[in-house]
């Protein structure tokens, strides 16, 4: 009788453990992407500040802003709109660049946030939030300064 009870407990524990294990694996595998729009920014700065950080020392800046798992820092960047375009995924792209800077910050919006910038014009000063994908630097092959790239962007405010 005692053995039967022990077996029953062991079976219940094994099934419970199995369900928990499968549940954990399924949760980890199907975990949704980080919601950049709903997450608070890690840093708030101007486009000129981050460009100067990157052009001064790219390795230090990459170390500060990029994360090994791709969920890199979320930045709030303020600057002047110098270009508005659309990418191949039909999302709006705004370049925040000051005339005196060698590079700017390119912010790609999303299907949910594209409409917020439809009335913006070149020359306006705005603050955007987005996740950094890569930094600014001079590329010898392109023979161009590459911009800081932000994606999953949202409009925070406009002056």
């Amino acid at each position: 009788m005692k053995t039967k009870k022990l077996i029953r407990i062991a079976l219940i524990l094994a099934v419970a453990g199995g369900i928990l294990g499968v549940g954990t694996v399924l949760y980890i595998f199907n975990k949704p992407h980080r919601d950049v729009l709903a997450t608070e920014a890690d840093y708030s700065l101007t486009n000129s500040q981050i460009i100067s950080e990157y052009l001064e020392n790219k390795i230090t800046a990459d170390d500060k802003y990029l994360s090994a798992d791709g969920n890199s820092k979320i930045l709030e960047v303020t600057g002047t709109i110098s270009k508005i375009s659309e990418n191949y995924n039909s999302n709006m792209v705004i370049l925040l660049k000051e005339e005196s800077d060698k590079a700017g910050v390119s912010a790609t919006f999303t299907a949910e946030t594209n409409h917020k910038i439809s009335d913006l014009k070149i020359g306006e000063i705005i603050t955007v939030k987005g996740v950094i994908r890569s930094g600014a630097s001079y590329d010898d092959d392109l023979e161009l300064y590459e911009h800081v790239i932000l994606e999953k962007s949202d409009l925070i405010s406009q002056l």
């Binding site: 980890i28 595998f29 199907n30 975990k31 949704p32 992407h33 980080r34 990459d62 990029l66 994360s67 090994a68 798992d69 791709g70 969920n71 890199s72 375009s85 659309e86 990418n87 191949y88 995924n89 999302n91 792209v93 390119s106 790609t108 994908r133 890569s134 930094g135 590329d139 092959d141 392109l142 023979e143 161009l144 590459e146 790239i149 994606e151």
Partner: protein
């Protein structure tokens, strides 16, 4: 004195003309699409990147793509995390992928008129700090003054130090993946 003045004017005109031609020769694209596609019996995996910068020199046929590796987006968040991590693409230490190539038969292309041209793209592809040569077919389109380039080619992941001996990645990720590269250019 008059000769000196004429010489100065000629020099100024020449310098201006040369500056314009240099700018005009290099087309820049920030409207791009890079896609990785992996097919196995277990599953198909796709990652898309819309944030690359590219240049195309219409005088030399030089083509460059600079690809921010953290810009690849997967449907599955867990896969995207793995893609970025050290044992996969190590995108923190190698944030950019790069294609530096030349259109071998660029003399065939008339950039001033609409047309579709089959081209051979030859050069080097750098991923995760490893550079390998490639020679692939591509298509250049000229339409209403807009130039675009497209190429689709296979890459073997192990050539770039990306290999999986065991676990799910070894069965679910193809050893050779298909890369699609598209860029649309405007004058700089």
């Amino acid at each position: 004195m008059k000769n000196k003045r004429l010489f100065s004017i000629a020099l100024a005109v020449l310098m201006t003309a040369s500056a314009f031609s240099r700018t005009g020769d290099k087309l820049v694209s920030s409207k791009s699409h890079i896609k990785f596609y992996s097919h196995t019996a277990m599953e198909d995996i796709e990652a898309n990147n819309y944030a690359s910068v590219s240049t195309l020199n219409t005088k030399t046929g030089d083509v460059v793509f600079s690809v921010p590796m953290q810009g690849f987006e997967f449907e599955n968040a867990s896969m995207q995390k793995h893609f970025n991590q050290e044992k996969f693409l190590d995108t923190k230490d190698h944030p950019k992928g790069k294609l530096v190539a030349k259109i071998a038969n660029f003399d065939d292309i008339d950039f001033s008129n609409d047309g579709v041209y089959e081209v051979i793209v030859e050069g080097n592809l750098t991923i995760k700090g490893t550079t390998k040569s490639l020679k692939e077919k591509g298509t250049v389109r000229v339409k209403d003054g807009i130039v675009s380039i497209e190429s689709k080619f296979p890459i073997t992941l192990a050539d770039y130090g990306i290999s999986f001996a065991k676990g799910k990645p070894s069965t679910n990720i193809a050893k050779t993946v298909e890369v699609t590269v598209i860029g649309e250019y405007t004058a700089e």
